[in-house]
Symmetry: C2
Subunit: 339 residues, 2 copies
């Protein structure tokens, strides 16, 4: 049905439209690409491509524009990965190497992605469930109050205060801290509830109440934060390309403020470092129907920690963006593995 030349034509249409933002006609196509045939022939091919739903014309006497389906085919079969320029590689290293802690890694990554791709960047914090406990610290604030600080191997720090049912002294705190860490240090967060299930019962009656209060708050904090955090940056790139959003950028901005939507978008990505593209009407969320998202999962080693990506108009440079997102994801994974 679609021979090689038709695919060439589609590829050329996508490329031209991405760079000019104007419907591309048969004449311009043969001039800018050496297809070796006449405009009339190209017109026939275009008619076939339109028949199949890969391109469309905004109105009768206009050139053709790729449809969502056309972009999809382009991404899946017609584009070759564009290697990053050495300047880009250097930018990634320089940007991320001086990061101080996890917050810093995340905020630098957002800025980096936004700058590199010139689209809106979205970066998710490492998912708590997929991390392990590095250390649980108990700090005595008063005779009936503790602060819990949970540190994960990915650098996340969660803190919470506990009001105790009874008095507690430094000695008991440090005993409890030791016993807790013995059980959970190095364990995946996922297993912590199990690991601590019978801790309180094993405590001597005198401290049992306090111990179970601590455990309760700890477990609760793991659940509460299940709604994972996402950071967004480079939103001004949307207005720079405002003409690409026919219904204005408003719904897109609204979507970007819905953590839930973003998490769902990122959450459906695939294996570590593999780059996923979601185009236009493939989005589950109404307001994003005129956008595309390029995302990748990052991880340390083979463990997927979370995802990051960029959101832009459907008319985007897919090969370049995919290369950038993939490279950043790999680099972030490496950095988190080191720390």
């Amino acid at each position: 049905m679609l021979d090689d030349r038709k695919l060439d034509v589609l590829r050329a249409i996508v490329q031209d439209f991405v760079s000019t933002n104007e419907p591309v006609g048969s004449k311009a196509l043969v001039e800018r690409h050496h297809l070796g045939v006449s405009p009339a022939t190209v017109r026939n091919d275009m008619a076939a491509l339109e028949e199949e739903g890969y391109i469309a014309q905004p109105h009768t006497s206009a050139g053709r524009v790729p449809t969502d389906k056309g972009y999809r085919l382009f991404v899946d079969r017609l584009s070759t990965v564009k290697p990053l320029s050495s300047a880009e590689r250097r930018a990634i290293e320089q940007f991320l190497d001086g990061a101080l802690d996890l917050d810093d890694v995340v905020s630098r990554t957002v800025r980096l992605l936004a700058q590199l791709t010139r689209h809106v960047a979205v970066v998710q914090y490492p998912i708590l469930d997929r991390s392990s406990v590095r250390h649980l610290e108990l700090i005595k604030l008063s005779d009936t109050r503790l602060m819990l600080v949970l540190i994960t191997d990915t650098g996340r720090v969660e803190q919470r205060q506990v009001d105790l049912p009874g008095l507690i002294d430094e000695r008991t705190v440090s005993d409890l801290r030791a016993r807790l860490n013995q059980r959970i240090a190095g364990r995946p967060i996922h297993d912590v509830p199990n690991d601590l299930a019978d801790l309180a019962e094993a405590e001597p009656p005198a401290t049992r109440g306090n111990a179970s209060a601590v455990v309760a708050v700890l477990l609760a904090s793991l659940v509460e934060r299940r709604e994972e955090r996402v950071v967004v940056g480079g939103a001004s790139n949307l207005t720079r390309l405002a003409l690409d959003f026919p219904d204005s950028v408003h719904p897109v901005l609204e979507a970007l403020e819905e953590q839930v939507v973003l998490i769902r978008l990122l959450g459906e990505a695939s294996r570590p470092t593999e780059v996923t593209v979601r185009i236009g009407d493939e989005h589950p969320y109404e307001g994003l129907r005129s956008t595309s998202m390029v995302s990748a999962t990052y991880g340390s080693g083979s463990r997927a920690l979370a995802s990051l990506g960029v959101l832009g108009p459907m008319r985007m440079d897919y090969p370049g963006t995919m290369a950038a997102v993939g490279a950043v994801a790999r680099y972030v994974g490496r950095i988190l593995a080191e720390s």
Copy 2:
């Protein structure tokens, strides 16, 4: 020069223009407000107000629009504080009361402000310099590596890793922790460098190297984070009111991504809970010339911790916005004082 009726006219112009977004003419004015005079008289007053620079007409044969100077006069002398509705009061309490930790307080505050005022919300984290040390925790990660966790009385948590020049054991860590906390717990961050100036020298030679490495990293972290953090939310409110920004919202969005600009904006606010308004050309930053910012400093007790506010078009409901921002600032201060 400007008698009471002229001020009444200006007030009426601002109110009408804020609600309709259309240049207001003399006839419409006398119809909607009971000024007790004829349109012709109002026209004379308008001419005087224009002469003084409080209003302007977009073009001949159009109504009048307040100028920056006009809004300023309105805010300073012509508006009365609009008390919050009880629904709004309830919203504030409900929104903020369940906050778990500082991050949560800040992110809830941003969402609350954005929702309440329907403008872009900007909230600054408590400034490190104005907080005190609650506790410094040292956690041994390996024989040559520690993690520092600094907890302030406002709930900020800063963490950093230290590579030590020599080996260290649990016992030494806990000694060092005790000595450090003895010196700095409860002290203002501001004084910490002084408090620790001679700590390393007082250490026994065997542990001196490690101790000074820890102190060095700690002090460095206090300086690095001097660039304070700001969180932005509700950016989609900008595009909702896109027509209020003649040169498109792009420069405004760009400004919102410049932490430095925002910090400077918020930083120049005044005493705790006092509400500050900056209008149009009073902004130091070019891109914000068509916006107004309403901000307030929050604090616990008499201590100013940092500022929060909203950014919107110059054409905004100043009395209502000022009331909301002030109320939220007071409430946030109270919450942080409690914890």
